[in-house]
């Protein structure tokens, strides 16, 4: 389909399309990519560029022994180019309009009501930025992959395409297609390069993500049938108003799809093994961007389309979020394996994200979308740094990999930074977003919010334990000699940490005398997309009698 898109751009696609008799009238192609910057297929490049380079990687001749990093080089430069494109798009993004930007729309399967429709609003733009950062980080984190590196980087690039595709697609068929397309390459990456439990990890991932894919596909199809629509266009299906029961069914299916990806308890079976066994690059990619798609589907499809059902499901989602954060904190407290402990902690941003969706207030939804970005970076930083630390320390048990702060300070500090990001420490991106989620959710989900806060306290205890043992405690004389982060490790963790700090310090973008510089500000970009969505959840004033005046007498507070 990208071929057709590109052909169409160059004026060749049209005749090819029209040459074929199509019974249903194909939607009139809009001005291809009519938007703010010059070239009109930015999103197609961002989505299909990695796939194209994956094909190139698959067919280039075997490099000479001296050039073992050829495939890494291809993947790195591809991701660097994609990130540059995304940054161009981000910096050019119109922060004052709520419509789609960089839109591309072409008929693809008109007879089936399927269009090649790409476009991003603020939410999509920020997630594309996340995906670009994570993609580059994942490639750098895979610096030491030497065994079957061709296959590895092909799969890495294909996953990148799938992730970008889900975010950029405006046709639900394409959403399902890319969503499902991420499953196989990630499963292969885990099955091929993970630790001793790779087989179980890959099988679990396939099963859970497959279940989620089936749920998403079923949800989309039920929505399509209920809307009586002739196509799968999100803009059209988004306006459908199915009956209450059908809405609920659709929302439940979307929620199942989302919760298997994020993941949330009890759909977290795959996460522990994958995050604890897979190589750092795969961990960063999976937890940083691929799993954030769950939250994206929850906001975009469940909260964005099925308003009534979202209200019905909100308490359950809030309970699941609370359960996840509490459970993750408890599990992290009792874990003795550094990577597994980090894997549990990496579940927490997902839980807080879902709390924001359950909150269903404008502020909580803005916070949720920001947290998709910040939580992805935080989870990637903690899981990635733990994986790298375990590799460099040649030990995974907190008993063996102990007292490393003095010997490998760089990795220890980066691990601490990841931990703090998970806790939502100030001036990291997770703080502002977490604050918005909490403040937004306290109104509608006070119980769940308090439970999540308690879970975060448990997580803090687990983090304190982790840092005590691994970083600041007494070194284990029997442990092998650790090595600090390599240049590639420092770069990939640095990119994640830098992004967290940048957005944490200037969420609205840097300004000179009130004039924005370079970065329009993640929070402003996010807000362009959520303002419309959130308005349907705006709280209405409660007409209750005014509070009685202050009591003029009160007992003494003294004992």
């Amino acid at each position: 389909m990208s071929l057709l898109a590109v052909l169409h751009v160059f004026g060749v696609g049209g005749p090819l399309m029209e040459a074929v008799p199509t019974p249903s009238a194909s939607p009139a192609p809009v001005n291809f990519g009519a938007n703010v910057i010059g070239f009109s297929f930015l999103l197609s490049l961002v989505v299909w560029g990695p796939a194209l380079m994956a094909l190139v990687t698959a067919v280039v001749p075997e490099p000479r022994p001296g050039q073992r990093r050829t495939f890494l080089g291809i993947a790195f430069w591809t991701n660097a180019a994609v990130l540059s494109l995304v940054i161009i798009g981000y910096s050019q993004f119109q922060a004052f309009t709520s419509g789609l930007q960089f839109e591309e729309k072409l008929p693809w399967l008109p007879s089936l009501g399927i269009n090649y429709h790409l476009g991003v609003d603020g939410m999509g733009m920020v997630l594309l930025l996340l995906s670009g950062l994570i993609g580059l980080g994942a490639t750098l984190a895979s610096w030491d992959i030497r065994e079957r590196s061709r296959t590895f980087f092909v799969m890495l690039l294909l996953t990148q395409t799938a992730v970008n595709g889900v975010v950029a697609s405006r046709d639900l068929f394409m959403v399902v297609l890319f969503w499902a397309a991420a499953t196989v390459p990630v499963a292969v990456l885990v099955a091929g390069w993970a630790g001793p439990r790779r087989s179980a990890a890959s099988g679990r991932l396939l099963a859970y993500w497959g279940l989620g894919t089936a749920a998403l596909m079923a949800g989309v199809l039920v929505l399509y049938a209920a809307a009586g629509s002739s196509d799968f266009d999100l803009d059209r299906l988004g306006k459908a108003a199915p009956s209450g029961r059908v809405q609920l069914l659709i929302a439940i299916l979307f929620a199942v799809a989302a919760l298997t990806r994020l993941p949330l308890v009890p759909f977290h079976g795959w996460a522990r093994d994958v995050l604890a066994e897979a190589p750092a690059g795969v961990v960063v990619l999976v937890v940083g961007s691929a799993s954030r798609l769950g939250g994206y589907v929850l906001v975009r499809l469940m909260a964005g389309i099925e308003h009534d059902a979202a209200h019905t499901l909100a308490p359950f989602l809030g309970a699941l979020a609370a359960l996840t954060v509490l459970y993750a904190g408890l599990a992290a407290l009792s874990a003795t394996d550094v990577r597994r402990l980090a894997a549990y902690l990496a579940l927490i941003p997902g839980g807080v994200t879902v709390l924001g969706v359950a909150g269903l207030t404008p502020l909580s939804l803005v916070g949720t979308v920001m947290l998709l970005f910040a939580g992805g970076l935080a989870a990637a930083l903690i899981a990635g740094s733990a994986a790298t630390l375990a590799d460099r320390a040649q030990a995974r048990s907190v008993g063996l990999a102990a007292g490393l702060a003095g010997r490998i300070p760089k990795l220890s500090w980066l691990l601490l930074l990841g931990c703090l990001a998970v806790l939502g420490m100030p001036f990291l991106a997770t703080f502002a977003s977490g604050l918005m989620v909490f403040m937004g959710s306290f109104r509608t989900q006070p119980g769940a919010s308090v439970a999540v806060a308690v879970g975060i306290v448990l997580a803090a205890a687990a983090i304190a334990r982790l840092m005590q043992r691994v970083a600041f405690g007494a070194p284990n004389p029997d442990a092998p000699t650790p090595a600090d982060a390599s240049l590639a490790d420092s770069w990939y963790l640095g990119i994640l940490a830098g992004a967290l700090l940048w957005v944490g310090l200037v969420p609205s973008g840097p300004k000179l005398f009130g004039v924005p510089l370079l970065d329009p500000g993640v929070v402003n970009i996010v807000n362009t997309s959520t303002a419309d969505l959130a308005s349907s959840y705006a709280p209405t004033p409660v007409p209750t009698p005014a509070l009685s005046p202050l009591p003029t007498t009160s007992p003494s507070p003294s004992p």
Partner: protein, 667 residues
């Protein structure tokens, strides 16, 4: 007048006194106020020879926070030597102090707070619905009144003193660059908490200070003890931090604003917000105050980390009470609006803490722990005073005094303990002979701490509050003079590998560092009794006239006398008794820890193991087995069956069955 009545009314007085101007003035009015202020100061400038300190406010106020940030980045980015880091940190703190003094000079005649703010986040989240929730913003706001100026100066004095002390006494400490970076982070957070005018901003700086505290208390690496200290220093007080976050979130969810000046006026006039919500928010925020002020029963995060670098302990012990007291002071309108429950809960809590803390301080013989526990009672007494608007200002001044003296006493005590090579008070002594400066510092600190709550007690309303004040003052004096007598008096005995004759006093710079704190403490304590100072702080309440309620002096004096009798005359026996009590409490703590392990930790781990290692794998394996078994059965059945007969049988059976169904349906 009934005590409760007095409390509630005086709380309202406090609201008006503190925030009356703020309520009256909108943002524009505030700028008008500040411009009026600058006009006034420029008028004064004429007399002062042309320099107008008011004109410096636009850059001097941000400089209070910018200085530590720049110093932080400077040290982190370029400095590698211990001396360099110490110099940059000290210079940064001096700049911060000078900026504060400059602001103080500009605002000395202005009772209205100086306000300025810079947008950090400002978005329109919805275009419909309740107007309060259509927008969201967090400002980097500065709200500087005389109280915050006094608090800032005290905090900076403590930080400067600790840096000066560490420069010499902490020369051998590991990671000097790291230490100074963390100190600046701590100072940045503390400054932010004191000047912030937005609750979101306040939470941010509060958490940042907590992070700095964690890094400072967990500074020493490489030993189990150090690791455990870090664990306690992060996890335990985080409970209070999250309580503050929840309290603020609850307030926003009800009132839709985070700015103090716009929140307080609507506390009692917002439709649909009941006392329950306000009380819950007030209690949550008070929990944060109690935990970070480190009053009983939340003293563990400081008493369990006494092995950290002494300067870090002094910072945590001295600065946090000021921050917590400042937060409590700002939240008085909220507590007042919460009606009966919140003041009562807060009053009971600090009252109990004022008695329990020093009582526990009498147990055990660990020098620094005793100092911290004893002074926690004094902190609680001053917080109790802050709750009574008749004594708001005096108590806050007392709080500043106690905080500074507390830090000084920790520094002086650890200096003496370092020279005497022990922290066991049974083995210390002879301070006046061998370490007169440190002994004097201990004496002054003890006196300031013992008298810290006196002003508040003298202004207490009639009623049962005297129990807390009286008992608290006596117990604080008793327990805080215990370490003084243990170190300064008695005989310093010879021990294995320790020769008392070799004990010399600390260098003058180290002693000076402790004296800085005591001087600030003493000044704040005495100033609390001066009408001018009370008027200057302007938080309400009235000044203490020395003629009235002078009988209150009996309580601390009695405490001192008992201390002198017990620890001056019968030192060894008393300390042995304290050691026995300490062992008893230690045993009780161990029992409690065992119960925690048995009733909470272990069951929790079992739940996780049950889910992760049993339930989830069993469920997954069950599903997997079901599918593979189904596939296997289908395969074996298929292989075992003869093709043709099976096909024929299936064809006929299926056709017949569905034909019957179809036929039935058709009819």
């Amino acid at each position: 007048m009934d005590a409760g009545e007095g409390c509630a009314l005086s709380l309202l007085t406090a609201v008006t006194a503190m925030h009356g101007p703020a309520i009256a003035l909108a943002a524009s009015a505030a700028s008008a106020a500040s411009s009026a202020a600058s006009a006034a100061s420029s008028a004064a400038a004429g007399r002062r020879g042309g320099f107008d300190p008011g004109s410096t406010l636009p850059w001097a106020v941000p400089l209070i926070l910018a200085a530590p940030l720049v110093g932080y980045v400077l040290i982190l980015g370029s400095v590698r030597s211990r001396r360099g880091a110490a110099n940059v940190a000290m210079a940064t703190m001096v700049v911060m102090l000078l900026a504060t003094l400059l602001v103080g000079w500009a605002r000395v005649h202005q009772s209205a707070p100086y306000k300025s703010s810079y947008q950090w986040i400002n978005i329109l989240v919805a275009s419909t619905g309740d107007q309060r929730f259509q927008g969201f913003g967090i400002d980097l706001g500065f709200r500087i009144d005389h109280l915050s100026l006094a608090a800032l100066v005290t905090v900076m004095a403590i930080v400067i003193a600790s840096l000066a002390w560490h420069r010499v006494a902490g020369r051998g400490e590991q990671g000097p660059v790291r230490y100074h970076v963390n100190t600046l982070l701590f100072a940045l957070g503390a400054g932010g908490v004191l000047v912030s005018s937005d609750l979101g901003e306040l939470v941010a700086f509060w958490l940042l200070t907590g992070l700095g505290t964690y890094l400072l208390l967990g500074h020493r690496w490489g030993t189990e003890g150090a690791g455990r200290r870090g664990q306690v220093a992060l996890a335990f007080p985080f409970v209070g931090d999250v309580a503050l976050l929840c309290g603020v979130a609850l307030l926003y969810s009800r009132f839709g604003t985070l700015t103090l000046d716009s929140l307080f006026p609507v506390l009692t006039t917002t439709l649909g917000v009941g006392l329950k919500s306000i009380t819950a928010a007030a209690v949550l925020i008070f929990v944060a105050v109690a935990v970070r002020a480190c009053i009983w029963p939340f003293t563990a995060w400081q008493t369990a980390t006494v092995d950290a670098p002494s300067a870090s302990v002094a910072l945590a012990a001295g600065v946090w009470p000021v921050l917590a007291g400042s937060l409590l002071l700002r939240m008085l309108p909220l507590i007042g609006a919460a009606g009966v429950q919140a003041p009562r809960i807060a009053g009971y809590a600090v009252g109990v803490a004022a008695v329990a803390g020093p009582l526990l301080g009498l147990t055990g013989v660990e020098l620094r722990r005793s100092i911290l526990l004893a002074s926690s009672g004094a902190v609680a007494l001053t917080l109790l005073g802050v709750l009574y608007p008749s004594s708001v200002t005096v108590a806050f001044s007392g709080l500043l005094a106690v905080a500074a003296a507390r830090a000084g006493m920790v520094l002086a005590g650890t200096s003496a303990a370092g020279a005497m090579r022990t922290v066991d008070m049974r083995a210390t002594g002879g301070g006046w002979q061998r370490m007169p400066a440190s002994s004097a510092a201990l004496l002054v600190s003890a006196a300031v701490i013992a008298l810290g709550g006196l002003g508040a007690a003298m202004l207490r309303p009639s009623g049962p509050a005297w129990i807390a004040f009286g008992a608290g003052l006596a117990l604080v004096a008793l327990s805080v003079f215990r370490p003084y007598f243990a170190v300064a008096h008695g005989v310093l005995r010879r021990r294995r590998a320790f020769e008392p004759e070799r004990v010399r006093d600390v260098p003058s710079s180290v002693a000076l560092a402790a004296f800085i704190c005591q001087a600030v403490g003493a000044v704040a304590l005495v100033a609390g009794f001066l009408t001018g100072w009370v008027g200057f702080l302007g938080a309400g309440g009235h000044s203490v006239s020395m003629g009235t309620n002078v009988l209150w002096l009996i309580a601390p004096l009695a405490g001192m006398a008992v201390a002198a009798a017990a620890f001056g005359v019968r030192k060894d026996r008393s300390l042995e008794m304290g050691a026995t009590l300490g062992d008893l409490t230690g045993a009780l703590w161990e029992q409690a820890a065992r119960l925690y392990q048995r009733l909470i930790a272990r069951p929790g781990q079992q739940v996780v193991r049950g889910v992760e290692d049993v339930a989830v794998p069993t469920a997954e394996a069950g599903v997997g087995r079901a599918f593979s078994a189904a596939g296997g059965i289908a395969g074996s059945a298929e292989r075992g069956l003869p093709w043709v007969p099976t096909v024929l049988a299936l064809a006929v059976v299926l056709a017949a069955a569905f034909a019957l169904v179809g036929e039935g349906l058709a009819r």
